[in-house]
């Protein structure tokens, strides 16, 4: 049994223009110690999904249903208070997009990291601080950062703080939502190395959300490609990167510049879909080079062209 099983997860919002189907029937599993990369364009619902997993719902929720099974508990059905006390940060923690602003500006960094320990685990300050300092060492932060305020730290240091914070209660899963997009390329590399090290040493599972498929390939064991609120392709990293099946995945890969070779990167024609009124049938069909009539009418079923590589595309209709 997988560590985390997500099954037919739906999260819809109410907006002035209508109902946004941000997460529409998403399913995947995460094994222990495994990193799964969720890849997709901006606005495809990745962050909504991250929020959905830890049940951080906005006030204008229209629909939230499905199964998120963790340790035989369905998070979807769990009352808010229990999610807060038992699930968040203990089992699943999250590193948000944009470390610039996720820290309280008027409280010392060390205390912020320690806070969940003091509040949740009921530790006293001494114990908590010891653990915090240990985690800080783990992420490569000097001990004196403990007494600093967020504005005194660089972008990279802040990101490390946020990662240390995410690790402080030894969760089984960390969700990382674009953890490096606000950083310089060189710092990016450092953080990625840190994450890889942590994954190795702590055997921690990761849900790594990014728009950059190349970045995702650096750390992910599995890759899921998300489009318009749905997962259109999922498989092992090799499978998805080396033999992508879904036309969107293929286009994504071709859009990545290569260091060697003469090919120029391609762009994906058209615009990202409207999540209030997604296209009929297959949501990618207006931008797909291989579009067939059936694509315009019927939403594709999930097919498995290779073992453990699933794709939502009519091209593979007869392969089941």
């Amino acid at each position: 049994m997988a560590l985390l099983e997500i099954n037919q997860l739906k999260l819809y919002y109410k907006t002035l223009r209508g109902i946004v189907k941000a997460v529409d029937n998403v399913s995947f599993d995460v094994e222990a110690g495994e990193a799964i990369g969720i890849v997709g364009e901006s606005g495809c619902g990745k962050t909504s999904m991250a929020n959905a997993i830890i049940k951080m719902l906005p006030s204008n929720v229209a629909l939230y249903q499905g199964r998120i099974i963790l340790d035989r508990i369905n998070i979807v059905d769990l009352p808010e208070d229990e999610v807060r006390r038992k699930i968040r940060w203990r089992y699943i923690s999250i590193v948000f997009q944009g470390a610039m602003n996720v820290l309280n500006p008027v409280i010392k960094v060390g205390y912020q990291i320690a806070e969940p320990l003091i509040i949740h685990a009921g530790m006293d300050k001494e114990e908590a601080y010891k653990i915090v300092k240990e985690k800080m060492r783990l992420v490569g932060l000097h001990e004196e950062v403990f007494d600093r305020y967020p504005h005194e730290l660089s972008g990279g240091m802040k990101q490390r703080v946020v990662i240390a914070m995410a690790l402080v209660m030894n969760p089984k899963i960390i969700i990382l939502d674009e953890p490096t997009s606000a950083l310089d390329v060189s710092i990016q590399a450092q953080i990625m190395n840190l994450l890889k090290k942590l994954k190795r040493d702590l055997n921690i599972s990761m849900i790594f959300i990014t728009h950059d498929i190349a970045l995702s390939s650096d750390i992910s064991d599995k890759i899921a490609v998300m489009y318009a609120g749905q997962i259109v392709e999922i498989g092992s990293a090799e499978q998805v990167l080396l033999s992508p099946k879904h036309p969107y995945t293929q286009k994504l890969l071709r859009a990545t510049p290569r260091l060697t070779g003469e090919e120029k990167p391609e762009f994906i024609p058209g615009t990202p879909p409207d999540l209030v009124n997604p296209p009929n049938g297959c949501r990618f069909h207006p931008r797909c080079s291989y579009v067939m009539d059936i694509c315009r009418e019927l939403e594709p079923k999930i097919f498995e062209p290779e073992e453990n590589q699933k794709v939502m595309c009519w091209l593979y209709g007869d392969k089941k």
Binding site: I54, M56, R84, R85, I87, R88, W89, R90, S93, I94, F96, G98, N101, V102, L103, N104, P105, V106, I107, E115, P116, I119, H120, Y149, H151, M165
Partner: protein, 348 residues
């Protein structure tokens, strides 16, 4: 050390402002001939006293006049009246700074004395009592309501408070005071027309205190009504903006209880900007104090200002201009200290 150096620099800046203001006052006084008038009055006062005491010993009128003339000349030299006003600048500036301005022309202290410094200082506490209590009450109401409204944005309370805030900007504070007197003192006879105590004030200290409290209700209400609209609105806006920040959401994602998030992640972070608004409103509080004290005959610095202007007592006017500036600067500095303590981002 970030904290100490920031504070020191700030203190220096504010002290400079105070000194510049004093010089400015003195220059105006000199250039308009007012300082001449004042010093001359001080000379005449001394001469008069001299005349009275000498008249007892020197019987010959010519001798008396001669002695007095000599002394008068000495005094004029001493006070610098024989030289042009700009030469006297530093001396005048020092006088103003230390409130060494002699006697008031017509105004008196509560006990009948007429030294300017006494008159001014004995009323300082009354003003501070009034302004501080009004500010604290406004702040409490503002914070409580502001936070409540921030959580129910767009509701009726929100709309009412923004209209009220806009309207309270247009209403003169002192007019509110006048209306309150007409309604509550004249019409309903619930509260006194003004003053600090009834005449005669009760001798029992406890009753005296209650008497003062009763007298303070209308003036404090006036000040509160004038400023509470702004307090509520700015608190609401600040709290609203902060509540939408990423770190608030991140705190919830960490599983922190909502109560803690509200206290430490919203309110604590909102404290510095709210305090900034207090600092910005400080000058308005001073104006409000002056006008309200005038309307309610509250014996503080504000009312003294009005009385001094009415009877054209220049020395007291000068002293008060200085004192108000001093009070403003000190209050500002204290608040800025508080701000620096609350917000680590401004320390360098």
């Amino acid at each position: 050390m970030g904290l100490a150096s920031t504070l020191f620099l700030r203190a220096l800046t504010l002290a400079t402002v105070l000194i510049l203001v004093v010089f400015f006052i003195v220059i105006i006084l000199g250039a308009t001939g007012t300082s001449d008038k004042i010093l001359q009055a001080m000379v005449n006062e001394e001469v008069m006293m001299l005349r009275q005491s000498l008249a007892k010993t020197i019987k010959d009128p010519q001798e008396l006049e001669r002695v007095i003339d000599v002394r008068r000349q000495e005094l004029m030299e001493f006070y610098g009246l024989t030289k042009p006003w700009y030469v006297r600048l530093p001396d005048m500036a020092w006088r103003v700074l230390t409130l060494d301005l002699g006697k008031a022309r017509t105004l008196k202290t509560f006990t009948g004395g007429n030294k300017v410094s006494d008159i001014v200082m004995e009323r300082l506490t009354n003003t501070i009592i009034l302004v501080t209590s009004a500010t604290i009450i406004s702040a409490l109401i503002g914070l409580v309501l502001g936070v409540r409204i921030a959580t129910k944005v767009g509701g009726i309370l929100d709309r009412i408070s923004s209209y009220m805030s806009a309207i309270s900007y247009a209403i003169p504070t002192w007019w509110i005071g006048i209306i309150l007197i007409m309604v509550f003192s004249f019409l309903l006879r619930l509260f006194p027309f003004g003053g600090l105590y009834s005449t005669p004030p009760p001798s029992d200290p406890y009753l005296r205190f209650l008497d003062m409290l009763w007298h303070s209700v209308l003036p404090v209400t006036t000040l509160v009504v004038a400023s509470v609209g702004v307090w509520v609105y700015t608190t609401r806006t600040i709290v609203l903006n902060i509540a939408q920040e990423d770190f608030v959401n991140a705190a919830r994602a960490r599983g922190l209880p909502e109560e803690l998030v509200r206290r430490r992640y919203i309110m604590r972070v909102a404290a510095p900007p709210i305090l900034t608004n207090v600092i910005l409103g400080l000058a308005t509080s001073i104006s409000g104090a002056i006008l309200t004290e005038t309307v309610f005959n509250w014996p503080g610095l504000g009312r003294l200002f009005y009385d001094a202007v009415l009877v054209m007592d220049e020395v007291v006017v000068i002293a008060l201009t200085y004192i108000f500036t001093l009070v403003y600067i000190v209050a500002r500095f204290l608040l800025e200290v508080l701000y620096i303590i609350l917000d680590p981002r401004v320390r360098y």
